[in-house]
Amino acid sequence: MHKVFLVIQREYLARVKKKSFLVATLLTPLIFPAIMAVFVWIAVEEKENQSLRVIEVVDETGLFFMESSDQYAFSSSVENLEEAKALVNSGERYGALYIPKMELSAPQGIQFYGLENPSTSLIGYLEGALKRKIEDQKLYAKGIDPKVLKDIRTEVTVQALTLGDAGEETVTDATVNYALGFLSGILIYLFIFIYGNQIMQGVIEEKSTRIVEILVSSLKPFQLMMGKIVGVGAVGLTQFLIWVLLVGTLSSLVMGVLGMQMPQQQAMEMANPELIEATPDTEELGAILQVIDGIDFVSLVAAFVFYFLGGYLLYGALFAAVGAAVDAPSDAQQFMLPITIPLLVGYMGLFVFVLQDPSSSTSFWLSIIPLTSPIAMMGRISYGVPFWELALSMCLLVLGFFGTTWLAAKIYRIGILMHGTKPSYKTIWKWVKSTN
């Protein structure tokens, strides 16, 4: 056991001490706030720098009065289209809107002239404005005041609640659950791929340098393999923890600088009821907070850690086996398929089935079968999963881990000593069946 610890320690320190680890760990979380900051900055800049675009309106119906906005202003200084076009050509106007004489029941022939391709947002703005005008005209024609219609419009929201066994009610929100499932599923998927690859690279390095032959004379191949898997996993967890801390602090810093509010601040305002009443916006935030409050975070985090590690260990052993079977990373591709396919099934399944309908039978099976469950179950868990399903899925994941590790150990034990010839699936199967 003590030697396994030495292996774990080496795998961990060798990676954590590398400059590339430091760079990746520090830069990756910087990227998200940086991208956010750049987008916000661009948006703010654009709004400030954009000059008002003046559009000449030639309205032959005489019915349309276009209201100006922050971005667009409308003028009607000329009588016909030709003059309007001349204004556009001379640069005095950004564009010209031509509304011909037409039947309001079937509006046709409205045209926009400009020197450049108009943005979809401008066309959308014009269409929306014209549509509202025409609709108002039609309402008047039928003797209805548009104001009456406005008063009739009503907003309805349905609050979703789940009933617990003890009759307690928890407020839920599909959006929040979706986001949580989405995020944790993706994280597990990425984690397995990135660190699984590191295991594979490490095994190939030890094999091609024959270090493995020196090591396996002192400790069992299985111990060496597990030491590597655990060591690399510990590196991943370390990196993940640092990211969580960094992203948290940096995002709130950036948001703070840009004058936005972070949940903590909102929560503080929530605690002050006067503020709730003062700003109607916070009522909605209050609802979200109530939903977040309703999620059992302790069990969610516990489940995340379980599936995070379980999935990593299950696939880690397979990555180690692939590394042991080949001589160089470029040869590994052909054996990656059995790893990539179930991972992709889990990943696609998360979007196509699990997040759409967490309690469908496809979602159920995806979250029970060990190869896909680490990703799929995280998509269901924030919606609430019956205890027996969770227990079954977890037990199967542990069993699956033992299964893949047993299989991988057999391949690993023989593979690390084989050089020169590229094995086929058939030879690998022989290794698995061989008893010695």
């Binding site: 080496r10 060798a14 340098t209 004379s217 010695n436």
Partner: protein, 298 residues
Amino acid sequence: MLEIRQLNKTYGSHRALTDLNLVIPEAGIFGLLGPNGAGKTTLIRIINQIIEQDSGEVILDGQQLSGDVIRKIGYLPEERGLYKKMGVWDQLIYFSRIKGLTASEAKQRVTYWLEKFEISSWKNKKIEDLSKGMAQKIQFIATVIHSPRVLILDEPFSGFDPVNAAMLKNEILELKKGGTTILLSTHRMESVELLCDQVAMIHKSKKILDGSIREIKSRFRPLEIHASLSQLSQELPAAWKIEASEEGKVDLLLPLEGQSPNQLLRELMNFGEVISFQERFPSMEEIFIQQVNASGHA
């Protein structure tokens, strides 16, 4: 003393070792010879307990090889490498600890060896920043760091430049003097003749020859004679090879062709004054090639 008794190993239908028996005496250098694929690596791996034999025993100092005994073995694989991104110090400490040394023992030994090779200044360098020769020194230290009783060297000189090869040779001889049993697997015969006390030759999974170098050589009758003649009196037979000729003196290489040396000497005397007459023993290389060919055709 390392003893190999009736060792057998097959991979599927391929026999890697057949009823192999070897006695490797203590404090000596034992050469393990054989062409590629003969079974040398399999034997070394079994001794190292990297793989298990089908039947037979490996006995070190009267004990069956087991996890504890393995600590007494140091192994330098043929194609070598170290963790490229790891520093010299960390790497040596790691291998010492894996071999079972305590942390303080490991530090002490690594310091000793780095000072011995006058490379203490490399401590924090990564292997990828070292030259090949430098890395080979580190690898050698990693092999002997735990003071093994048995040292297994697989083609130890391959890739060494002459200076480092000489250094390695001296280290091997020093370890031998210190009582280490050394098993040297190679097909480089010049190092065998220089270093080994005893050899065994393996071919197609079987031992085809073993014994001390002198014993083996004497077992093979010399086929040629080195001779020198002065005062040459007549034309020499065409079969006699003139190796060098100075004023009044020729060095010859004479095939025996079934004659005894005495018969040849008598004949030689007819051609002039015999200054020297010496049997030329076959080199280990010639014996090796001859044996491999002979058993290959059998």
